[in-house]
Amino acid sequence: MSNAFTAYLIFFGPLAVVLVFVLAAMAERRRAGAAAEPDFFARNGWPVAIFLIVAVGVWMLVMIVLPALYMVDYSFHPKLPPSQRGGPRDIYTLANYRYFLFGSPTDTSQWNSTHLYAFWITIFVSVLITIVNFAVCYPLAYFMAQVARPAAVTRLMLMLVVPYWINEILRAFAFRVLFGTGGVINEILIGAGLIHDRIDFLGLDVALYAGLTYAYVLIMMFPLYNAIESLDRNQIEAARDLGAPWWRIHAEIVLPHAKPGVASGATLVFMLCAGALAAPLILGGPKTLWFTPIVYDRFFQAFNWPQGAAYALVLLMACMAFVLIVMRLFKVSLSEIAR
């Protein structure tokens, strides 16, 4: 893809999409005829209709589709100085992906164990954090949705939301203070006589995992709360009246009902966690392996954008595959998650 072509695409692509939408709307009107229901333009009015078409068209294409396509294209190109781009050496290649797997663009005798291990750890820990988040949020969401009085729910909601007014960087550094070798937690443990030597929570990645878990609590909380809240309280009481102990009520009545909420919360937490950048950069110890800082380094340390694009795409694909597999396992559909 040459630069000139890309420029044309960015400029004319949205126009083309807008044109397609307008034609579709007009076709709808022609097909429906005068007597039928009002068409898209009549329903919304011309100004709103045009705004919707332009906004959706530009947003989808410019914000989502084009940059992603650009990255896909980039990832199959070699790293070249600007003067050689579009020249004879600018060919399609799998070298960037080969580098991810084998640590060299050409040699395939050895695995790229550092990057592969970081990749695996990122996925694995993200799964764990998602599970921990669910375990933390479920009792609270159930309490708020089914047990607490409305006034208490409002207060709890505020207590959950207000800490998120503090920005991510500040929160991450606060966790550093909390978990550092001279930090509050070490002081308390030593003061209480529980430990003698200070524990390096940062080096052990405890701070990172705790920070990531905390960062996405709300993302799990709200879908769960909404899902449980929509359950008819009488169903819980009916199960109890029929003799069910509390754990069966949760396993057989509440959770099956809340499954879409669990799925959407878990998907979001997992995706965000695996893609988190600030928390690993700030809270990670010197030996911490997390995949996103590696991707970041491809772009801004190695200045190898094609390789960075390949790494980012590998992460995206792995996350999507993982989510699709989990959805299949738990028999949830995409439309249920989006509900």
Binding site: D232, N234, Q235, E237, A238, A239, R240, D241, L242, G243, A244, P245, R248, E252, I253, P256, H257
Partner: protein, 354 residues
């Protein structure tokens, strides 16, 4: 299979609000017992106390002689049918019915057999594999009954379960419920605000108002011999005329009212000079040569009877219901007539002391 229930001086408070005030009821094993009252009278609170979702503030609930305090709803020999039925939408019909058995660890095959048996009992054979949302309102009703019966409760508690059905189905389900109760022999406690349901199905009815049981008795007694003005006006149609007691003699009371001096049975607790209300059923009022003068304001033909709206001399409104053979068709709005009744058909009740 069925247990008696003893509600012993039960009071239930929610903060400052007293929902149930010192209620005592003894319900015999195998009885079809209804609690009738307007919404907010405390009848559902009593039901939730029997099922174990609420503990009484004072007093005790005994089922089959055993004190139930501290026994949770999942450990009581009761099953509750919710007003909105609360069937589990994610389970099919058979799984719904067998849920109580599954919780008790009954093997799947046995569960299914029991579910099919119960489906035959409630006249829905072969629907075990259907989804809940494929059923009609009446079918859901039957599934809810089957689900409650599956755990073989000694007492079945029903919280206005027919209120969501249309009139014809509701009337049909009344007969059906009564028949099911006879077949299984379980004690039924039925909560309703619909006096028709209470009177047609029950062995006995308790009428509640503002947290207090006003009267307990069989349908006929409640209807013919109401114990309080509330029961007289809440159960069935009634004309009430208030006044002061003039004389009391031979079980009859004579009261001075704006409509003149009228006589009815002495409902008890009356003293000369006290404020009292005479209640006379519309179907007991008759056009007579001598009696209370009134003008016909409207007539409503309802097939087997005609309701005649009357306004008496001082603006007091009365309703008279006449059978087909009593000449209702001769009455037209604007006519001046006189109405009367046999004193034995009317009852004079003291104004409630509360």
């Amino acid at each position: 299979m069925s247990a008696d229930i003893d509600i012993d001086h039960v009071t239930i408070r929610f903060g400052d609000f007293v929902a149930v005030k010192d209620v005592s009821l003894k319900i015999a094993g195998g009885e079809f017992f209804s609690i009738l009252g307007p919404s907010g009278c405390g009848k559902t609170t009593i039901l939730r106390t029997i099922s174990g979702f609420l503990e009484p503030t004072l007093g005790a609930v005994r089922i089959g002689g055993k004190d139930m305090s501290g026994v949770g709803p999942n450990k009581r020999p009761t099953a509750l049918i919710f007003q909105n039925l609360a069937l589990f939408p994610l389970m099919n019909v058979a799984d719904n019915i067998a849920y109580g058995l599954r919780v008790r660890g009954v093997p799947a095959k046995q569960r299914r057999r029991k579910a099919d048996e119960l489906l035959s009992l409630v006249a829905l054979p072969g629907t075990g594999d259907k989804k809940i949302n494929e059923l009609s309102g009446g079918q859901k009703q039957r599934v809810a009954i089957a689900r409650a019966l599956a755990v073989e409760p000694q007492v079945l508690l029903l919280d206005e379960p027919l209120s969501a059905l249309d009139l014809r189905l509701r009337q049909h389900m009344r007969t059906e419920l009564r028949a099911i109760q006879r077949r299984v022999g379980v004690t039924f406690i039925y909560i309703t605000h619909d006096q028709g349901e209470a009177l047609t199905m029950s062995d006995r009815v308790a009428v509640m108002n503002q947290g207090v049981v006003e009267q307990v008795g069989d349908g006929r007694t409640i209807y013919d011999q109401p114990a309080t003005p509330f029961v007289a006006s809440f159960v069935g149609e009634n004309n009430g005329v208030s006044g002061r007691v003039r004389t009391l003699a031979d079980g009859f009371a004579e009261i001075e009212t704006p409509l003149g001096l009228i006589r009815g049975r002495d409902g008890g607790d009356l003293a000369p000079g006290a404020v009292a209300t005479l209640f006379i059923r519309p179907e007991r009022l008759r056009p007579e040569a001598e009696g209370v003068k009134a003008q016909v304001t409207a007539t409503a033909f309802e097939g087997h009877q005609t309701h005649v709206q009357l306004v008496a001399a001082d603006g007091h409104k009365l309703t008279m219901s006449l059978g087909r053979d009593l000449g209702a068709h001769l009455l037209t709005p604007g006519m001046e007539i006189a109405v009367g009744f046999a004193p034995a058909d009317a009852v004079v009740l003291a104004q409630a002391p509360r």
